[in-house]
């Protein structure tokens, strides 16, 4: 495995960009041609990505983009094992989603915009994967946000879609606000934002660290990976077409926050990791609780995604482990970034099984004529066998059924938590119980029993474009967990996966089996195939409490927007009207008096409201200014 530095712009990045440009410029009205172009680009990304990753060649390159004296922002590419792994994930899931979209979006009137959006997304996402410095990552960070906005807003005639896209954009902007400040801070503290240079400084122990810096950067992950309290945009983002939910809001873009954290692992300090750990744990548990009450198939999966992202963030937050071994009388301490290994491992397996389930839900929605309510489904097992079996594999993988993908990656995280932080271990195990519960509930209500609506009764399997991606992703969900069998080219990541041995192994295995069985059996025996939610019937109090928990954040934000922000804006506007009116109505007097340009003002204009306001404002500003100086 060699690392070479070359001036090089990866073709793999260029192809989706060209595809997007061609669609935007020439194919706006040719939906089918646009789909073909976009699909070709996605296929190229998938195959070239595999070639690059498995070929083992690793490289770095940089060209200067913007120079201001000492400050240089470069556009560079860092292709190491971590990037290679992410590239493979994005390529494979991207290709599956493109193929699936051919069938799913076949009759859409704005097909060209849709596929153009997918291409621009692929470009932006690959930019994040390849970025060698934080400024460049931020550039593509914003661009994925934009493509996500466009794709959520695909059916923009729907008010809910328009609102959801706006919410997603703003919530991400809030996170990016911290992220950008963190990047600027990192630049002024360390003189560089280049990942390799930061890592080198870290090894040489010349890195200037602070607790604030990683936390500001973490804000970016909180927004993009939808952690508490900025998670609210992700469930709403389900307004977008389902393949988009699979690609962007489950497998790749929302995982970018975790990828970014792994990239800047060197900047982490214990206090920051603690915050990250608890944010992730809280998100995991909270979202799992929310998922239980959902009856929209996509919303269940969305909360499940939130929960699993919380798992990954928590894994990262658990941090490193050190191993001490005595060799020839000399003690060596090796520090392994096991948090990175565990988080990326779960990111990988999750990308496959969650994309699988989202596409499966798309197939269900397609088959049931756009019915999304699982309470109105049922009996799809026989009507949609391919979807059923592949979805079952996805469910088995996420609940940690032994020897499927999720089993291994979740165990790695549980083991890490077990070894480092007992309360977190307990909470994550509880989350796993809930995961098993809501997934089995979803699976049972959707596929088993008798159909509970005409749509479900007349459900049908979609064409090959819908089923083929499901089969491929199901296969990946079966095998993706065997990390020791991965090609050695990903060793940079997979060597960091923590593994339990001996008694610990037994404890973790038993725990994971137990939580799966407990959650699964509760769901299996409790939920009835009825058109109403069993929990709501049997324990309305509990159901209402869980629903209230879900709504609490939305309510808080709605309150902020409607009662605080809007009122503040209206107040400011009212204030401004006084400014305007003061000048329009009493223009000359107010104005001339203001600047003291003539004694005339003293005769004409009594000190009118405007001048009062002005003086008051001036005093206020002075206080503000002096306050700022002392900050």
């Amino acid at each position: 495995m060699t690392t070479t530095t070359v001036a090089y712009f990866p073709t793999i990045l260029l192809v989706p960009l060209i595809s997007a440009a061609v669609i935007a410029l020439f194919l706006r009205r040719q939906g089918n041609a646009a789909a073909a172009v976009s699909l070709a680009a996605a296929a190229f990304v998938a195959f070239d990505g595999l070639r690059l990753a498995l070929g083992g060649g690793r490289f770095e390159s940089a060209t200067e983009w913007l120079r201001l004296g000492d400050l240089a922002i470069s556009l560079g590419f860092k292709f190491d094992d971590l990037a290679a792994l992410m590239l493979v994930i994005v390529g494979l899931v991207g290709l599956c989603v493109h193929v699936f979209s051919l069938g799913y979006m076949a009759d859409d009137t704005a097909k060209a915009r849709y596929f153009g959006g997918l291409s621009i997304f692929m470009f932006s996402m690959l930019g994040i994967v390849f970025a060698d410095n934080l400024f460049m990552m931020f550039i593509f960070w914003e661009l994925v946000g934009f493509s996500s906005y466009v794709l959520i807003n695909h059916w923009h005639e729907k008010q809910s879609a328009a609102d959801a896209s706006k919410k997603a954009f703003i919530a991400n902007r809030v996170g990016d606000f911290g992220f950008l400040l963190g990047i600027v801070m990192c630049y002024w503290l360390n003189g560089t934002v280049n990942l390799t240079e930061l890592a080198a400084k870290g090894e040489a122990h010349t890195l200037v660290v602070s607790t604030l810096l990683p936390l500001l950067l973490f804000c970016g992950a909180v927004g993009k990976s939808a952690q508490l309290p900025l998670h609210v945009w992700l469930p709403d983002a389900m307004e977008g077409p389902t393949p988009v939910s699979a690609l962007i809001h489950a497998a790749t873009m929302v995982a970018a926050g975790i990828y970014m954290l792994c990239r800047i692992n060197v900047l982490m300090v214990p206090d920051a990791l603690t915050v990250i750990l608890w944010t992730g744990t809280a998100t995991a548990l909270y979202a799992a609780l929310c998922a239980i009450t959902q009856s929209d198939i996509k919303k269940v999966l969305a909360y499940s995604t939130l929960s699993q992202l919380g798992y990954m963030v928590a894994a990262f937050g658990l941090g490193s482990m050190s191993e001490t071994d005595a060799h020839n009388g000399v003690t060596h301490t090796h520090v392994y970034a096991v948090g990175v290994g565990a988080a990326m491992f779960h990111l990988t397996t999750h990308a496959f099984f969650k994309a699988l389930m989202f596409l499966g839900s798309g197939a269900v929605i397609h088959g049931c004529h756009h019915e999304q309510d699982i309470l109105k489904m049922g009996g799809l097992r026989t009507r949609m066998p391919v979807t059923f079996w592949t979805f079952t594999i996805g469910v088995a993988a996420i609940i940690g059924f032994p020897y499927l993908a999720g089993f291994f990656s979740k165990d790695a995280i549980l083991y890490l938590a077990f070894a480092k932080n007992t309360p977190v271990f307990v909470l994550l195990a509880l989350t796993a119980v809930l995961t098993s519960l809501y997934m089995v509930r979803l699976w049972k209500l959707t596929f088993l029993g008798a159909p509970r609506s005409d749509h479900a009764a007349h459900a049908h399997e979609g064409g090959l474009t819908l089923t083929l991606p499901l089969v491929l992703l199901a296969a990946l969900s079966l095998v993706a967990g065997y990390h020791t069998h991965y090609p050695a080219v990903f060793a940079g990541v997979f060597d960091l996966i923590p593994e339990a041995h001996g008694t610990e192994h037994t404890i973790i295995f038993a725990t994971s089996l137990a939580v799966m069985l407990v959650g699964g059996s509760i769901a299996w025996f409790f939920y009835r195939s009825t058109p109403t939610d069993t929990l709501a019937d049997k324990a309305p109090g509990l159901f209402a409490a869980l629903a209230a928990l879900k709504h609490s954040f939305d309510r808080a934000y709605d309150y902020y927007v409607a009662k605080i922000q809007q009122r503040f804006a209206l107040f400011v506007n009212f204030f401004e009207q006084i400014f305007l009116a003061g000048l329009i109505v009493r223009g000359l007097a107010g104005f001339v008096g203001l600047f003291g340009l003539g004694a005339r003002a003293l005769h004409v204009g009594n000190l009118n409201a405007y001048v009062y306001w002005f003086l008051l404002g001036l005093v206020g500003l002075w206080l503000f200014a002096t306050g700022l100086v002392t900050l």
């Binding site: 201001l68 400050l71 931020f138 002024w188 209206l570 305007l580």
Partner: protein
């Protein structure tokens, strides 16, 4: 490069020609205006191609004017002024294209328009404070007539009057400051002069009190025109009342005159004053960014949204100047260019493409129309301009605001936090404007929305299609914002050396907190 002064003369000559032609044929006047704008712009671009970036102003013309007072007709250029000259040419050309359909007193309209442009070129080329001031006044007068005669009838009188009062009050402060500086220089034994270099050299002898007072006068005077809070109220009303091309020039170029005056005159001449006022400047700039942003969030008049967004974005320019380090000031100049292009584009869509067809600027009315289907080109342009305005990578707003933020953090992280918050507010009001204006119409659409074609046709016949002139103007401005967004180094390579000049260095030293 020595041809640059021609931009001024060509514009004035074009103004006379357009006036003469307008009496006979409006169409000839239009073409004269377009040709004039293009020629002047071409002169700038040729000069830009030959330009060798260097620290300090490169002399073009230096003639004695009023010998007794030491006033000289002194024109010179550096990377900062060149950036703004390119912007002026671009905005002027686009503005003519967006005024193509003016039907009323065409000759006079374009004569005033070109006179304004000539004045602006003059300001950006002046190296003598008095010359600077004269051109500055020349640029202000035509604005009044453009708004008062061609503006929107309901408010144009007030708006024009207000704008001119503010402008003149600002000018009065500047003039008072310059005369005081001149007198103080003479009192300290220097020969009478208004040359920027001479004044700066003399000002090093000034007392701290004089520096502080002078800076306050000159900076405030110029900052009024840059839309600094709380002297910004002329801007939204003026923009709203003005005809489209005038709004474009007002936001695109005239507000930059103010910021440029601050940077070229106030900062380098009175660095001690700068050091004293810096926190106040920053506070006012931040107030402007956030205050105007919140107001833009609740406006119901489409043009007011853009008007207040201009004030908010100009706050970034002023904040960059207040931070007074090389990075922040370079960012401020980049932002002047970027905002000039983007604001021009936004006003073109709102005032020209939409208002001239729908005859309403009320967002409440616009949201009833499926405007994105009726005017798809306008919708696309507005979305792109909105993204640029929000500072999305790929557009000029991104490197500009990023550079300002980096520079501001160096001076004060707290200021950077406030400015970052301003970016958030900007995203909120821009997204709202995009959605309510073009995509406000919500129809009970099925999941796979099929556009209701009959309505589409019915409405489409009601609105005249977007003209070629409008499309070219929009394409020109869009190309500029994308080009600079992808390659900001083109401008920064001019701007950065200019900040190494002794004059600018003294300003930056004065501002080192």
């Amino acid at each position: 490069m020595n041809a640059l002064p021609l931009t001024i003369y060509v514009s004035f000559a074009g103004a006379l020609l357009a006036l003469a032609a307008g009496a006979r044929s409006p169409s000839v006047a239009r073409w004269v205006a377009l040709a004039t704008a293009l020629i002047a712009w071409a002169i700038v671009l040729v000069a830009a191609a030959q330009f060798v970036p260097a620290p300090g102003l490169q002399d073009l013309v230096d003639l004695p004017w009023i010998a007794e007072l030491g006033i000289r007709y002194h024109l010179a250029v550096d990377g900062i002024s060149l950036t703004l000259l390119v912007l002026t040419g671009l905005a002027a050309t686009a503005g003519v294209l967006f005024s193509w359909d003016i039907g009323h007193r065409v000759g006079e309209f374009f004569a005033l328009y070109l006179a304004l442009i000539g004045g602006v070129y003059g300001v950006f080329l002046s190296a003598d404070a008095f010359t600077f001031f004269v051109f500055y006044e020349i640029a202000i007068v035509p604005k009044y007539f453009l708004i008062a005669n061609w503006g929107s009838p309901a408010t144009r009188e007030h708006a024009a009057m207000k704008l001119v009062l503010y402008s003149f009050a600002g000018s009065a402060l500047v003039l008072a400051g310059l005369l005081w500086a001149n007198a103080a220089a003479v009192a300290h034994g220097a020969p009478s002069s208004f040359g920027l270099h001479d004044l700066a050299a003399a000002a090093t002898q000034f007392s701290r009190g004089e520096q502080i007072g002078l800076f306050a006068l000159v900076f405030t005077g110029f900052a009024v025109l840059a839309g600094m809070f709380p002297f910004h109220t002329w801007a939204p009303t003026g923009h709203v009342a003005a005809p489209t091309a005038a709004s474009m020039l007002l936001a695109g170029v005239v507000m930059k005159l103010g910021a440029y005056g601050c940077l070229r005159v106030a900062l380098p001449l009175f660095p001690v004053g700068l050091g004293f006022w810096q926190p106040t400047m920053a506070a006012l700039a931040i107030m402007g960014i956030i205050y105007a942003g919140f107001i833009a969030l609740v406006q119901d008049d489409f043009k007011f949204v853009i008007g207040y967004s201009s004030v908010s974005h100009m706050g970034f320019v002023l904040l960059g100047l207040a931070a007074a380090n090389a990075t922040a000031v370079a960012g401020a100049v980049l932002q002047m260019f970027s905002h000039g292009v983007i604001a021009g584009l936004l006003f073109a869509v709102v005032g020209r493409m939409v208002y001239e067809r729908t005859h309403t600027r009320k967002l409440a009315d616009l949201r009833q129309l499926p405007l994105y289907r009726l005017l798809p080109f306008a919708a696309l342009t507005f979305v792109l301009a909105g993204l640029a305005s929000m500072g999305l990578p790929g557009f000029s707003g991104f490197p500009a605001e990023l550079t300002i933020l980096i520079g501001v953090w160096k001076t004060s992280p707290a200021w950077a936090v406030f400015a970052g918050f301003g970016l958030l507010v900007a995203a909120a009001f821009t997204l709202r404007a995009i959605q309510v204006s073009f995509f406000g119409s919500t129809q009970p659409a099925p999941v796979a929305a099929s556009a209701s074609e009959p309505t589409h046709d019915a409405h489409a016949q009601a609105y005249a299609p977007i003209t070629i002139a409008e499309k070219s103007g929009a394409a020109l401005l869009l190309a500029a914002t994308v080009y600079i967004g992808l390659k900001p180094d083109i401008l920064l390579d001019w701007i950065t050396p200019a900040l190494q000049s002794p004059l600018m260095q003294s300003a930056l030293k004065g501002g080192a907190l």
